[in-house]
């Protein structure tokens, strides 16, 4: 059904009259190393290690043909080493029976086509991802239009995810599969405010249904018994983001946004991100910038601390991702255009993230690209 809808959309877009473009290829290579640690893993009821490392190479291939069409394919792999998921597989005495930290791979591919029609862009995309306990198929449509002498751009994006969860329970036993469906809608408007400022407004609504718990997440009840996390089978999320980029001069630009989030599980959150970019006197386009991000969120109605929830409670989770916390991210970024055969540009971001309760992570991400 999802595939048929996407193909129908692609056919409809191809019938629109378009504008010819020059032919162009582009390849981007992205890589990252992510390392986190904490002592509140939901895999062990909110009290165990959250140690995890991920290495993730991604290749993005873009083709702009001698037609109004352009095509993008993203292919990536995440190699994950997780101490917490390893703890699913414990014997009756609570001893880890699977040895060293668990290794897992997640592979994903997303392909999209965009057609330019006058001052409008119409696009369609398909995606697939697979990891040991999760399979996802997605399809999406997007549309945008420039108006007001290209000072305003209105956009709409619709994405649907059809996912399948393999139900490994808290003892590591496969209990079959269940489905999860997600529909996301994003409305956006970017608006030039002055020769120095541009703003972006975004409204996001997401509707989820199906199996929304994580079957191997534990909860320690008030009587000390250990059971499986239980969460409702529906969730609606809404978020509004206001971003502002302001050029104080040709050498100092502030990128910023403020985001407000709400959902019907009781979480409300606010996020502020600031990245003042300073131009360096090397090359034609070289920037260095500190990174600041501040996030605060209320707990879900279903979130409980260990040894708190009575067995009679309908829903409960010990997942701190759904808890009340403040988090901060600090880091530094660097971007330069290169006149080199090695790459057209170099992008690097190094960040450290900390959250209440001793959780912290370190991330290095970089990008290189070639076009011809």
């Amino acid at each position: 059904m999802l595939l048929r809808t996407a193909l129908l959309a692609l056919t409809a877009i191809s019938l629109l009259p378009g504008l010819a473009q020059d032919e162009k290829w582009r390849v981007d290579f992205l890589g990252s190393y992510y390392d986190q640690d904490g002592e509140r893993s939901p895999v062990t009821g909110g009290i165990g290690t959250e140690e995890l490392q991920t290495i993730g190479p991604v290749i993005v291939l873009n083709y702009q043909g001698d037609s109004p069409w352009s095509y993008t394919t993203t292919l990536g792999v995440d190699n994950i080493t997780s101490a917490s998921t390893d703890n699913i597989d414990l014997d009756a005495a609570g001893v880890n029976v699977s040895g060293a930290s668990r290794q897992d791979n997640r592979v994903f591919i997303n392909s999209g086509a965009t057609r330019k029609v006058g001052n409008q862009n119409w696009g369609v995309n398909l995606g697939f991802s697979k990891e040991y306990d999760y399979r996802s198929i997605s399809a999406g449509l997007n549309w945008s239009m420039d108006f007001n002498q290209k000072n305003s751009t209105l956009g709409v994006a619709l994405n649907r995810y059809q996912d399948e969860v393999t139900l490994y329970d808290i003892f590591g036993v496969d209990q079959g599969t269940d489905d999860r469906e997600t529909t996301d809608i994003t409305l956006s408007l970017s608006q030039v405010l002055s020769p120095r400022a541009i703003a972006v407004f975004e409204v996001f609504v997401s509707d989820q249904s199906g199996f929304l718990s994580t079957p191997f997440h534990e909860v320690i009840l008030d009587d000390g018994a250990i059971t499986t996390e239980r969460l409702p089978d529906a969730r609606t999320r809404t978020a509004v983001k206001v971003g502002l980029n302001y050029a104080f001069s040709n050498n100092l630009i502030l990128r910023s946004y403020l985001r407000h989030y709400d959902d019907d599980w009781g979480i409300a959150a606010q996020t502020l991100e600031l990245e003042p970019h300073f131009r360096l006197p090397y090359g034609e386009d070289t920037w260095i910038y500190p990174i600041f991000r501040f996030h605060t969120q209320d707990a879900s109605d279903y979130w409980v601390l260990p040894n708190q929830a009575p067995a009679s409670q309908d829903f409960y989770t010990a997942d701190w991702d759904l808890g009340e916390f403040d988090s901060q991210k600090y880091g530094i970024g660097f971007r330069t255009k290169l006149a080199s055969r090695l790459s057209d540009f170099l992008d690097v971001r190094v960040t450290r993230y900390t959250r209440d309760g001793d959780f912290s992570s370190f991330n290095v991400a970089f990008g290189l690209g070639w076009s011809w």
């Binding site: 994950i80 050029a247 971001r349 991400a365």
Partner: protein
């Protein structure tokens, strides 16, 4: 719901009150950090943080499709 209504009103006010900036006035707007889209490396980095916070979405992050997290 009130914050959303307020934001939508703000958007309408901004859009209607802005006079068009002419192409020859857009030198600063064309500098790379002024792009309204985050660079691919930034989006890539965000992939990790959105799954460590239950408040996912509305920021280029996705709410389905698995994550490789645990």
């Amino acid at each position: 719901m009130k914050p959303f209504v307020f934001i939508l009103a703000l958007i309408g006010t901004f859009t209607l009150s802005c006079s068009a900036v002419q192409p020859w006035q857009k030198e600063k707007l064309s500098l790379s950090p002024m792009s309204v889209n985050d660079c691919p490396v930034h989006r890539f980095e965000r992939n990790a943080e959105v799954y460590r916070e239950g408040a996912v979405g509305g920021n280029g992050g996705k709410s389905g499709g698995g994550c490789g997290c645990s």
